[in-house]
Symmetry: C2
Subunit: 401 residues, 2 copies
């Protein structure tokens, strides 16, 4: 049987593919601290489960293709409260942010088309783009510059006749970078000048540290035709397993095309949308504040722990719950195999996502890792200690080989 | 902004696009009998809701990319009980049968590749295939031959160097055709001889009338490498809003490629899979028998009603809950607009899916309709009466124009 070249060029998720080694370590009795995947341990608000339990229809019917009405209305009110009034027709419910991206790339890309994305980036973008026949053209950044990318000098030379979109993530996964208002304005201007789709992945919107307010590319009403926002309840409400996300755009033509795919796959899960509607309806500013404070404590625990490890380099993240760290090793994948297969301290070890899969450019990211700080501060302190001990043991072993 | 030619060539769902006219009719106070969409009124078994309510995790976490373990195990046992032993690795949970198809086409198709599908077919196949750049090559059938297609003479001449797969649906949507064992064997042979993927959409498996037992293309173990089954809980358990489906195949290479996409979109909804596992665990042969009997009564009500309408032609369906009907009108879409906008009998009217969208061949299906018999027998009797009255009124109006 012949498979498409597109799928043959895809890889398994660099975040998920190390799972079997983790399972093997656990079966040996090891405790593994998970810093590898963005699965927070924060409890899902009870209102989600209550709304699902209160669902009393006798038949679990298809939802409308655009989404369950009460969910779409709740999302609309959420955006309006944030200061970005949108219409009901500007929203399409999707299976998490993931499907929103899959739909967008199907609407935009053909064989050979390009999407500009700052690297390092969320690796699944690559899979979604490759299956359409498109490819990522990376906007280069560096650890030294704190992974910032939103300048005309960096981006404009990369735009060519194949460029269809710029995809940004702010607050950023995996870097924790949060765009400034000036940087957002520049991206909006570039999208208009070159008639590109500006895809803004804003699933970590509320997770910002310091004084900035949650914002959105929807703020730039003058470029409404270029902007499409990808959003999700997963991280905002710690409900990753609900798979409720959305596309938000005021571009009617784009939404019309997206609707063709939404109707084709009929709808997304009814009950999860009912639960998600309750999340949006019942969440107060205090909820977001508390979540921000919790993640801020976690970030601080990671930063404090990393500062004790000789030779590591990193920037303090401004948002989301990730950071990229440069390690004093040649290959972070080899170190990860060592940590899962050989190393243990008091029967404990630690797991992260190696950096290579976050880069399109060959050779980059080999000595970098992504840490997801999604566990409690005291666990993070221990995890950083284990990382330091593991690096030390790995370097000693290498010297002795 | 430039959109892909692929999405521009797609259309809105021919099943869903008439919804606004139905809403308008309802707003005028009309009762509309829905025969247009495969949304059964049968109650979803209570075990689904009970399992969802009993879910007691505090964090609604990502499921594994292949599916929630208890769901995958339940599906495996279901297939084993049917007489088709499969391994856990032969199953990937998907967002309904729809995503299973989207994943498959991404694994198989490139620009210009072809999928053989008997027409009339489920229209969303066309959308899923077009967004990959592929296209449907229809296997012709006719109302006179009862829409049967599985002969070497009909299929083999259509196979060329672009053909990648044969997609069949049995029991069939929209025709109600159920393949015989001999027909299934022939399709299996053709797939092997021409090294094609044989995609078998079996979401209506248990919905067969008469003496045949539920079966599957998995029965042909000698062609296991060619066969992939698309399945779903939607129709089997009247749980369309759960969006729980699956890919089933013993072809490891295919499943490896499919896993890349599954990992990319992370997972499908956790709670719905928990509910679906309970459906599979708790369903008895008596449940399926009762469901079959109910749909058999509905089929009989439709058939009896249709026999009273002058000039209509149809075959009695052998399975699923649909049938194609040839009407004594020039254009079934025009009749549908008439039924929704002008016609009423005692403030009631009827809605169906026009046949044109079920055909790839230009000009076919214009005087055909698909009826979904998903409401109670007495309602179906009235709906057929309304269809007859509507046709009569439409023909009188046309004569007078």
């Amino acid at each position: 049987m012949k498979f498409s070249k597109r799928i043959e060029s895809c890889e398994l998720s660099p975040i998920r593919k190390f799972r079997p080694y983790m399972v093997a370590a656990q079966e040996k009795g090891r405790k593994v601290y998970h810093l590898n995947i963005g699965q927070p341990d924060v409890e899902t608000p009870q209102v989600f489960f209550d709304a699902v339990r209160d669902f009393s229809d006798k038949v679990l019917e298809y939802a409308p293709s655009y989404g369950v009405d009460e969910f779409v209305e709740a999302v609309r009110d959420y955006y309006t409260d944030l200061g970005f009034p949108i219409q009901k027709d500007d929203i399409l419910a999707t299976y998490g942010g993931s499907e929103a991206l899959q739909i967008l790339f199907s609407c935009l890309l053909e064989e050979g088309d390009e999407v500009l994305i700052p690297e390092p980036y969320y690796p699944n973008y690559d899979t979604f783009i490759r299956v359409t026949g498109g490819k990522i053209r990376p906007i280069p950044t560096s650890a030294e510059e704190g992974y910032r990318y939103a300048t005309r000098e960096k981006i404009e030379p990369l735009i060519n006749e194949h460029t269809r979109a710029i995809l940004i993530t702010s607050p950023g996964n995996p870097t924790g970078v949060v765009l400034t208002d000036e940087e957002m304005r520049l991206l909006a201007d570039l999208a208009v000048e070159h008639d590109l789709c500006l895809i803004s992945d804003e699933v970590y919107r509320e997770l910002i540290y310091g004084d900035r307010k949650p914002t959105s590319m929807l703020a730039f009403e003058d470029v409404a035709e270029q902007v499409v926002v990808v959003d999700s309840v997963s991280k905002r409400f710690s409900a990753t397993g609900s798979r409720v996300g959305m596309l938000v755009s005021r571009n009617r033509e784009l939404m019309g095309h997206a609707m063709k795919i939404c109707q084709g796959r009929l709808c997304t899960a009814t009950l999860d949308q009912v639960g998600a509607a309750a999340l949006y309806r019942n969440m107060t500013p205090a909820y977001y504040e508390q979540m921000r404070e919790e993640y801020c404590r976690r970030r601080d625990a990671v930063v404090e722990g990393l500062q004790k490890i000789p030779g590591v380099k990193f920037r303090v993240p401004e948002g989301a719950f990730y950071l990229m760290v440069t390690l004093p090793v040649d290959d972070a994948e080899k170190l990860l195999y060592f940590l899962l297969e050989e190393f243990a301290d008091n029967d404990e070890t630690v797991m992260y996502a190696p950096g290579r899969g976050f880069y399109a450019t060959e050779g980059l990211g080999r000595n970098e890792i992504r840490i997801a700080y999604v566990i409690r501060p005291e666990e993070l302190t221990r995890a950083m200690e284990l990382l330091g001990l593991g690096i030390q043991a790995y370097l000693v072993k290498k010297e002795n080989v």
